[in-house]
Every structure is written in C-alpha cells, then in structure tokens.
Symmetry: C2
Subunit: 510 residues, 2 copies
C-alpha cells in the first residue's frame, strides 16, 4: 500500500506541476495518515489544492524528499523505526539534504519521549505538536501558516537567485570583447534570465552635432543569433515602433514601452542619448527589478564597448591614412601599409608569437616607413637611380622613423619604433642602418622586412608592374637566409594562399 | 506605566543593540502582559535574551513598530479598542508599514469573535492561538520557532541585499570613465559593501613579451582616496607580500591570500595575467560569495578600462608624433600641434560647444597641417618669400589634408578633414582655399584658425622669434572680425592666463 500511494501521488503531482502544495506525512501508524487525509480533504491554501505524500518511516521519508524537493511541509512523528527516528530525520533533512525551506513540524503521541523544551532548542523544526492537540481546524491552521511561510521563503529565494543570475549575466556580458560578441551574449542572457525564447535587442546611440541635429547614429541590432552593428545617417531608417518610443523617451526622459518593445534602459545627457530596447512584454513583480538592474549594466557595457571600438577603428584608420600619406609622397599609393600590417600579423601567428604580440604587429607594422616624411623630395622621388650620396640620405629614413616614435611607453609605438629602425636589416648582416644579423634583429623587424617586400613585389609602383606569383616565389626562395629569415620564408611559401588572399581582400584603389 | 515600559525597553535595546530578540506584546489587558513576561522570564533563544515591548492598543503597537523596525515577533490580541483592532493591525503592519518579515501571531480570548478558519485565510498571520491554549511551554515553543523563522528570513534578506548592493556597486564601477575614477569608486564600494574603513586596492597586469619575461607591468594602486596608475618595469618594485601572492597565484592558477591581502580575483591566459588584491582578512560565509562576484566584475572592468586607456593614449601620442613629424619637415619643432589641440578644446568649451564636440576638437585639431606632407620641400622649406606660383602650391595643403582624411565615418577624422580644409579661411571671406566667410566656415575651422595662429605667434620659428604678449594681443585685436571670429578673439583675450598656461605646461623641447 505504501509504495502504491507514493507512486499515485507522484503521477498526480506531475500532472499538476507547480499548482499544488505538497505535504508529506511521516508516521508509522496508518491511522494517522488516514485521519490527516480526512482532515485536509478538499482543503485549499491560497487557491491551490494540497497533495499529500505518505511515508511510513524516516528512511522512506528521505527517499520521498529526494524525489520531491518541493515539499512545503512535513508532519513528522517522533517514534518510528527507532525512538528518535523523527528527530534524526529532522537533522538529516536540514544537514544532509540541505533543505532549508521545507517547514518541519513534529507530531508526537508520547511527549515524554521527546520533551518539547529540549526538542525545540536542539532541532531546527518549525513547530512541535502533541497529536491530541491537533483538531481538524488546528491542523488546517498549521498547514496554512507553514505553507504560507514556505511560499514566502521560496519567493525570496527566487528573487535572490534572480539577482545572482543578473550578476553572472553581467559578468558574461562584461567579458564580451566587442559589440558583436556583446549582441550574442545578451541574447543568450535574455533567454536565460527572462525566458525570452528568441530575443531581439536594439542598442541605439544618438550623438548630437553642434547644431540641433545628430552627427551620427549608432545602431546595434541583435536577433536570431545575428548581430548587426553600424552607422545609420537617419533615424527614419529605424522601425516606426522603435522611433516613437525613442521620441517619447527623449521628450519625457523616462523609460518607455509599447506592445512590442520594452526599453530596458536609457541614458540621456547633453552629449549622448542611448537606449536599449528588447522585444518583450512589460515585466512585473520582482522581474521588473531584475530587468532594470541588468539593463543599467547592459547600457554601460554597450557604451563602453562602443567607445572602445570607435577609438580602435579611428586609430586603425588614422595609421593607415597617415601611412598612405607618407607613401603618397614617395608616389606609392593604395592599401600597401594596411596589407603590411595584416601580413605581418599572420606571419607572427605562424611563427608562434602570442596573440598580444600579433595584435601589436598589425597596428605597428604600417608605420615602418614613417621616416620617409623627413627625406627630401629630390631623393625620395628621384626618377632614376640614386647616387651613393643620395642613397645614404635615403637610408636615413630608418633611423628617422625610429626617432619620431622612440622613447614612448606605449607598446604599439615602441614596437613601431623598433620596426622603423630594423625593417631594412638583412638576416645575413648586409642590411642597414646597423648591419646587425640573425636573431640580433628583433623579430618584429624580421617579420616586417619580409611582409614589406612581399607586398611591394606584387604591387604596381612608378618604376615597375606587379611581378607574377612564380617570380615572387623565386625571389623569396633566392633571398631566404640572405635578406630574410628562412623560417619566415617557409611559412609564407607554405601558406601562400592565405597571404595572397590579403591582397585580394584589400586591393589598391587604382 | 505603558510609556515607562516602552522607554525602559528602548534604552535597554540601545545598550544591547543586535544582541537581543525583540518581542512585542499587544493586548489591552495588563494581566496578559504580566503573564507573558513571567512565562518568558530569563528565556533565551539561540543564545540571545528576549526584550519584551508592550503596547496596549493597536494604535500604540504601530507607533512602537515604527520606532523598532527589528521586532521579530508580535503577539496580538484581537479585541482591543475595537472588536477587530488586532486584525486591522495585522493588515496595517503588512500593508502600510510593509513589514514582511516580522512574525505575527494572533492570541484571542474570544475565538467566536474571529473564527480561526476565516482569520488564517484572510490575514497574513503566522499562527492563531487561543489564550487558554498557551501554556508556559507552548508560549516558549511558539516564540522559539517564530523567532527562528524570523532569523532565517533576515539572513536571506541580508544575502539578497548584499547581492543587490554588489549589482549597484558594479553599476557605479562600470560608470567610471577612466582608471583613476575606477580606483576612487572601488575604494568607496569596498567600504560600502564590506565595511573596510580605509581600503587599499592593487590592480596588477603582466603582459608577456615574445621571450619568457614581461614586456611591461601595469599597476593601479588605490589607497586613502589616492589613485596611482602607471607602468613599472620590474615586478621587484612591488611590496614583497604582494609579489609572493602573485607568484603563488601564477604557479597554482588559484586565488591566494595572506595575513595582509586577499586576492579578490585573478585572470590568467597566455597573453595576460591580471590580479586584483585588497587589504582585508579572508571573508567568510555569504560575504565570500559577494567578494568573489564583485571581484570578478571588477577585474573585467579594470581590464576593459586599461585596454581603452592604452588605446586612447597611444592614439593621442601617435597624432602628436605624426603631427610633429610633418611640422619637422617644415622645420617647425616642438609641441605646437599638441598645444593647438588643447587651445582649440578650451576655445570650444567657452564658445559653448558640448563636451563631446570639445573632445573631438582636442583629438582632431593637431592634424590641421597634415596636408603639408604632400608639399614639395622646395616650397615648404624655401628660406625667402614665396612667389605667386609657389604660394598657390603651398595653399594646396588645406585641400590635400582634407583629401587624406576625407570620407571617413569616424567622427574624429571627419572633424580633422573639415579642420584641414578650413583652418585658413578668414571670417571676412579673404582666406583660402574656398574664400568662404562667417558662419559658413565650420566652427571647428574657425576655432583651429585662431588656435594655430595664437600658438605660432608665441613660438620660435626659423623666420621669427616669439612675439611678446602685448604684440600678440594687439595682433589678435587688429584681426578680430577680419581673419578671426570676434567672439573667439574675445574669449581668448578675456581668459588670457588660461590659454598662455597651456604653453607653460607643454613647452617646446628646445
């Protein structure tokens, strides 16, 4: 009978998951189970029915509780398989199963066996009753008040776990390296935190110009595991339902929502208006606090990443444009310096440099010829061959580039100074300005030397057309161990397609 | 008598703050108070004494609870000033005072007046007792179990509020604009969250070079409202007690602590080792979770700010060095371009531009003469006066600078392009290249025109010595409304010291 009852109750529970209060009766006397069931028959607490589970020993009670972790109340007899079985069960529930929220009430038929004043102090129970005291109404009151206490505890725990989840979501979002990853992570977290199955997130930033308009509009749209980040010149390109929320938020400086979107956070200052919107219905109860807490952190992380990307992109573009301006003076045009950065980065990766060094290479290598800014036109742009005096002026560009960039504390500029100085040194010592050789040449100089020549050979210059691929391969092969480090030449030849792809992706403008 | 008791209890409470459980007896019969006091005399719960507060009406009970928000349990009579006074009091406590944690037990002498089955359902109480049922032991059991429930609730609330505080601390830390503000904010938050009176925070980042050493070491030290941020070349410059923790953490990849410092978080990857340490003893209990949650967010924010500052500083330095390299070609040396950026920013502030536009000005104005990179030496460095043909070549630097920078989406480069093009236009239309006038010249061009000339007049050039201050003032005064916008000249003249301070702070190297 015992087993049947347990199973019967289990399946009933499955069918009405979350809509019943589970109460466990632990007693070795079947009559106690029957009386309790009778007293609680049809009784409802806060609109929910009760589901009574039965266990006839402490041992069995532990088994039931492991299967049913959401029991609200256990009514526990003291004397069962042993004189202290009920008391031991209390300790086991609290200390072994670590169930802190379940309400435990001792019901004893022999108070002398477990004196009330000792039991209440020594065991973490919520009430102590003599069976004879428990009239039908007293039992119902007991159930009502303990179930209500259980409900309150669960609600606080749920809020607590919501807060903890928002903190972990914030941490994961903070770890996003760029706006695209940010969009992906936030989609995941919106699902995890608020159960939104297919999240749609919009991050919108308006930066005012010196007039009354906006100089630009940055939009991040994340939907269906897809993240689009970019600039739009006109707010009218946004969906109308977003536009009206943004207009209302700017007019009232209060967060807004409509049937489709909920503004999880907004920030307005004279310099900046930023909004984060999620396609979701308005949250209620403690969810509202969680949305607001997560949203505030989200917006700050979004702005921080936006600022960083803006600065990084500006820097990259500036280095390329300035590198090109210097090349322009020497009548070399196009995306040469940008490609040298990318080729150098890839050579560094295959050479085994760490990712931090490779990133520095990508930023620093485009500045290798900066010193040419100081070389007179007469030398720099001489149509014919340079005479020895002119050649010695020309060679000064290595030292001059170094001097412009030297004595910086910034890793990128320190590496750029080193590259400017050493990118014309030869592996065999026959280069300039210092004639150093082999590993005495810093690795960034050895790498940029090869990247620069490799890209120049494939490019149009005023004095030459692009070489074909086999001519370039022959040249590199011939100069391996002389001009270039053999290991670097092998890398370039063995990964040839990857390196020539860089030119295809970043061709010269004309 | 009533008042005396309340006061007596209050001062007793003050003396033993936090070490007693407060229980409020609400009953209009003095004998009930006496009996309850007698029953609970000398009784202790979980090692703490009880402090009994008395109120003789619902009205008085509300007053007591407003003064004593940490009452654990109220024993409430039903019939007092009205037949329902006790029931109304329950609603008032829950719904008006919003006290959710205090345990409320109704004690009635006339059960017919407030039928148990209705009351338990309609009022948010934790138990319902008939006065006759409450023997001395039953009363003690009731107090014990309800006070324990109150204690558990308070503990969860405390944890919950700790998590909420960590979230708010994270938000405040996220809003830090730079590492110095970060250090300040974290010190405040360490005090607020963990009660550390004078926090000492260390953020340490090691970046490996291509060998087995570290190419640099970034250290943030925040202590006594003082934040020091910078580079150190050698880990030996750190205090020994920090060094040994860092060495241990790198060896074990586990967080460490000693008597002085607790490592709140560490991150190790091939490219980067980062550590955050706080001078504090090892936290215990749920504080440990809070420290770890906050620490993880802190380290991520620290790394993000570090990366951003690194990029911003590199960019600033790069712009200045490249600007100077271009100036060097035209034989102008020193910190001219950097000062032009700072002067332009200050002019923009007083002119009323928003802080975003002013920051753009500071970054963009140093690039105003970039087009000179494309001007032939023969013209750029001609010792004597330029002839008309040479002058028309020279004037091309405005358009050329614009072309190098144009068609970018980046706000800084867009503004720099505009400045390059228009910084030789005159307010009266007599400038070049396009002869536009007044407000048709973009504000950034008008500002940089004045900043450039103002700084050049005070500088040594190959063809001139620095002008004295009165000569410069006269020149600006004479050219106001002709070469320069009058409003800008007035700003410069009226804030003269602030502008000349910029030269004193950033003098030319020689």
């Amino acid at each position: 009978m015992t087993e049947n009852m347990v199973f019967a109750t289990e399946s009933a529970t499955d069918a009405t998951q979350g809509e019943v209060w589970k109460i466990l009766i632990v007693d070795n006397e079947p009559s106690v189970h029957q009386v309790t069931q009778l007293a609680l028959k049809q009784y409802r607490i806060e609109g929910r029915a009760l589901h009574l589970l039965s266990a006839y020993s402490a041992q069995e009670a532990l088994q039931v509780l492991q299967l049913e972790p959401d029991v609200a109340l256990a009514l526990i007899d003291v004397v069962m398989e042993t004189d202290n079985a009920g008391l031991d069960l209390v300790h086991a529930i609290r200390r072994q199963l670590h169930m802190a929220d379940i309400r435990l009430v001792l019901r004893t038929g022999q108070p002398g066996q477990a004196p009330e004043h000792e039991v209440i102090e020594d065991y973490d129970i919520n009430d102590y009753k003599e069976k004879t005291d428990l009239t039908r109404q007293k039992l119902r009151t007991l159930c009502y008040s303990t179930v209500r206490a259980y409900r309150d505890l669960r609600l606080i725990r749920q809020q607590q776990s919501g807060l903890r989840n928002v903190l972990l979501a914030t941490r994961k979002t903070l770890a996003a390296a760029n706006l695209t990853t940010f969009g992906d992570v936030v989609q995941e977290q919106l699902t995890a935190l608020f159960g939104i199955p297919t999240p749609e997130l919009w991050g919108i930033t308006l930066v005012p110009d010196d007039g009354s308009g906006y100089s630009y509009l940055h939009v991040l749209q994340a939907e269906n595991q897809n993240v689009v980040v970019g600039y739009q010149s006109n707010i009218k390109q946004l969906p109308g339902s977003l536009r009206s929320l943004i207009a209302a938020a700017m007019a009232t400086t209060r967060a807004q929502h409509n049937e489709q979107y909920y503004m999880v956070y907004q920030h307005s200052a004279p310099e900046l208006h930023a909004f984060l919107l999620v396609r979701m219905s308005e949250p209620s109860g403690y969810q509202r606090e969680l949305v607001s807490l997560y949203g505030a952190n989200l917006l700050l992380i979004y702005q921080s990443l936006l600022l960083r990307e803006e600065i990084v992109d500006t820097q990259k573009e500036l280095v390329n444009r300035l590198g090109n301006a210097v090349e322009m003076r020497s009548k070399e045009t196009g995306a040469h310096v940008q490609r040298v950065g990318l080729i150098a980065e890839k050579l560094g990766e295959y050479y085994g440099l760490n990712s931090y060094q490779c990133e520095l290479l990508r930023h620093a290598a485009p500045l290798h010829d900066l010193g040419k800014v100081a070389i007179p036109d007469a030398v720099l742009n001489k149509p014919g061959k340079l005479d020895p005096a002119e050649w010695s002026v020309m060679k000064q560009h290595a030292q001059m580039g170094h001097d412009i960039l030297a004595q910086s504390k910034r890793p990128i500029l320190r590496m750029a100074a080193s590259i400017a100085l050493t990118h014309h040194e030869y592996w065999d010592g026959n280069g300039y300005p210092n004639g150093i050789s082999g590993s005495a040449i810093p690795i960034e100089g050895r790498i940029t030397a090869l990247a620069d020549v490799f890209d120049a050979l494939g490019s149009t210059r005023c004095y030459k057309t692009p070489w074909n691929e086999s001519a370039i391969k022959n040249f590199l092969h011939d100069h391996s161990g002389k001009q270039f480090e053999p290991k670097l030449v092998s890398i370039l030849l063995s990964k040839w397609e990857e390196f020539t792809d860089i030119r295809r992706t970043y061709p010269d403008a004309d």
